[in-house]
Amino acid sequence: MNVIEHGRGKPPLDPHLKALENEAIHIFREVAAEFERPVMLYSIGKDSSVLLHLALKAFHPGKLPFPLVHIDTGWKFPEMIAFRDQVVARHGLDLIAHTNPDGLRDNVTPFSHGSARYTDIMKTQALKQSLDMGRYDAAFGGARRDEEASRAKERIYSFRTPDHAWDPRNQRPELWSIYNGMIRSGESVRAFPLSNWTEVDIWRYIQAENIDLVPLYFAKRRKVVERDGMLILAEDKRLELLPGEQVREEMVRFRTLGCFPLTGAVRSEATTLDEVIEELEIATVSERQGRAIDRDQSGSMEKKKREGYF
C-alpha cells in the first residue's frame, strides 16, 4: 500500500500549533482504541472542520474508524448543508444525518417555540436520540474550553450517565495525558480533542493547514435584518419579517455558525483568511456574542450541557 503525502512544500507548524495538533491526535487514537463504538459529531463549522482534519491525520493512512453524525435541525444555513455534502464526498466519509422526527411532526421552529425550547427539542433531544440509536459509547466533539465559563470546566473525557447527563460536581480526575475510558453499559464519554485550543488557534491552524470552510465565514454583501440586536440573514423564505423590520444589504460574515434564525452575523470587510485573523486579533467581543442561545441567562450553557447538549 502506498502512503499518500499531503504536506510537500508546506512550511512546518509553529511549535504552539504543533503541540495542540499532537495532543488532539493522541486523544483521537486513544478513544478509537478504548471504545467499542465511537462516533464524531460534525456540525460543519470551523471547529468541526479542524476536528475532521485532525481525525484524518490521526488515522492516516487508514480511513476514519468511526462514522460522523450531523444533527440537522432543518434550520441550518443552506451553504452549510452543501458544504457538508462536498466534504463527505471528497473524503469518502460515513455520515449519518439525523433530525428529531417528533420535532418535525410537531413543526417545532425557532419562531414558534422560542430559542430555548427549540434548541432542547431539535438539538439536545435529537442528539440523544441519535447517540442512542447508534449505541455509541464515545462521541467526539469540537468544544473548546475558551468558549464559555462552564466549558472551561470540562474534562477531555467528559463522562455521561445513560441519560446523557453531565455532573460537573462529580467529574473524574484527569491526570497527565492518561485518560480513563472505563464505563458501564449505557454510559458514554464525550471526548474533546480541541479542549486546549482558542479561537485564534483554530483560525491560525486553518490558515497553516489550508482547511476548507463554509463560505459564510468570509465577508460578502448579504441580505440581513436587525432583530434583538443581532443581524439575521434574510435569504431564507421561512424568515417572516416582523412589523417595522427592513431587509438591508450589508457587508457581513459569521464568526460562528448554527441555525440561521439564531446566529447573528458581524459587519466585516474580511474576505480572506489573513483578514479574518487580523480582524479577530483586534476583536473586542467574544465569538459567542452572536449566539442567541447563550444569552438566555447566566449558566444556561451549563444547564443545557447537564441535560445532554454539547
Binding site: V3, H6, I25, A33, L175, I178
Partner: protein
Amino acid sequence: MTALTSAATQPLPLDDAHITDPQAAKAGRQARPLRFITCGSVDDGKSTLIGRLLWDTKAVKEDQAAALRRDSTGKQNELGLPDFALLLDGLQAEREQGITIDVAYRYFATDRRSFIVADTPGHVQYTRNMATGASTADLAVLLVDARAGILEQTRRHATIAAMMGIRQFVLAVNKIDLSEYDEAGFQAIARSFREIALSLGVRQVTAIPVSALKGENIVLRGDDVMPWYTGPTLVEALEKATQRTGQTTGFRLPVQRVSRPGEGFRGYQGTVAGGSIKPGDSVVVLPSGVEANVKAIVTYDLVRNAAVHGDAITLVLDRPVDVARGDMIAAIDQRPQTGRAFNARLVALSLDGIVPGKRYWLKAGSRRQRVMVRPTSALDLTTGNWDDAPFLAMNGIGVVELDFEDTAIFDNYETNRETGAFILIDPDTFNTVAGGMIDGKRSKAGRFDALPDADRATVTLPARLLEAFLKTEFARAHAGEIRVTAPEENDGE
C-alpha cells in the same frame, strides 16, 4: 509592553481601554504555552487573582466584561470593581457557594508569552481536582492570605505539586493590603514557605506580596504602597519561568493502536513519550523483547526523517513482529524497567481511599493491567513526617508497593514524567481513584537475601506452575521471602 512595568497602583478603571490588547494575541507563538496552576487554601483569593490576571492582561472581551458587570450586581466591593472570581467560577454551584469546585482552564497571553492557567480548588474535598491541574503544570502559584499565613492545605498542595515534578513555585502572599502592607509579616511567611519548599526538593521559590483585588504586583507594580518590595510582579515571574523538561530517557513509544488499512501496511501509532527516533534506528518491543529496526516514520503530511518527544506518529518496522496496544517500543540501548513489582508514591483521590490488598486497574500510557496495591507509609501533613500506614485515606499521600499479575513497563517518574506516571481505576466503580508516580523497580528478594543460607531452599518449577504458585495466598503472604530467579526477566517466554 511598557505598561506592564509602569508604576500605576490605582485599581484599574472599567473603561474599554483596558479590554483586549491586540498585541497580546499575537504573542508567544514560538513556544508552547507555559502551563501553571494556582492553588492554596479556600478563600485565599485564587479565582480573584486569575480574574485580575485575565483582566489586566486584557484577555477579557467586552461582552464577557458586560456579563461580569451584570452578574456582579450586589456583590460589588467597595472599590467599585466587578467580582473577578465570576470570570472563573463558571458553574452554578460555584457561584451560589462562592467557592471553586472544579479546575477551570484559561488562556491568556502577554507580548512575551502565552499561558494556560488551571485555577484549582482550595477545598480539601476537591483535592483530586487540584492534582488534576498539577499533573501537567510547569509551575505552581501558591496563594496564602497575608493575615493567615501557611495552612495545612498550603502544605498539602505544595507537597502534591512537588511530587508531581513541579520545581518552580511562586508564593503569592495575597490580601497584603489588609495587613497594612506589612513587610515583616510578608518576610516571615516567605521564610517559612521556603523551608517547606526546600524539604520538598523545590529550589526555586519567588515570593511576591500581592493584592489580587486591587491589582497590586499582579501585572502592575505596587511601588506606591510597597516601596520595600523590589522583586518581580506575578506576570514578570511567569514570563521568566522555564518550561519543565523532566525526561532524560531514550526513545519511548507507548503503542496506542495498530494501523492495518490494507495489505502491505502495518504501522504502530502513538505519541513519542521520550527521546527521538529516525529510520534505521534499532528498537526493542516490550514486553516481548523482540528487536527490530525502524523502516519509516509516517505522518499525514510527510514520511519523516525523524520524530522527537511529543510527536504523534505512525512507526513502521523492518520486519513482521507481534505488537499490540499497550506494548512499548523503546530504544534498544536505553530500555525502560520491566518487572512485576514496583515502588511508587500515590495521591489518593476517592472517598474510599486506597484499600490494602485490593486489586485495581492501573493505566500507564496505553497499557492497562491489574495490580495489587499495598500502602506502606503516609505523609502526615502537619508534621511533614512519613508514618507507617497500611491504608491511605482520601486525599492522602503515601508510598505504596505495586504487585502486577503480568509484566509492567515503567521508567522512574524522576527521569520520565510520561512513562513514570499512572492512574488507578477502581474495578467496582470505574472511577479514577489515585494518581501515582513510579519510584523504581522493587526486588522481591529483599528479605530472602537476609536469610541465613541454612534457612533457604531452592525449588525449580515450570513457568506455568510458578505462575499458579505465585498467585496462591501462601505465596502472597510470603512474597518477601521468595526469590524468583528466571521468569521475572523473561516474561515473553
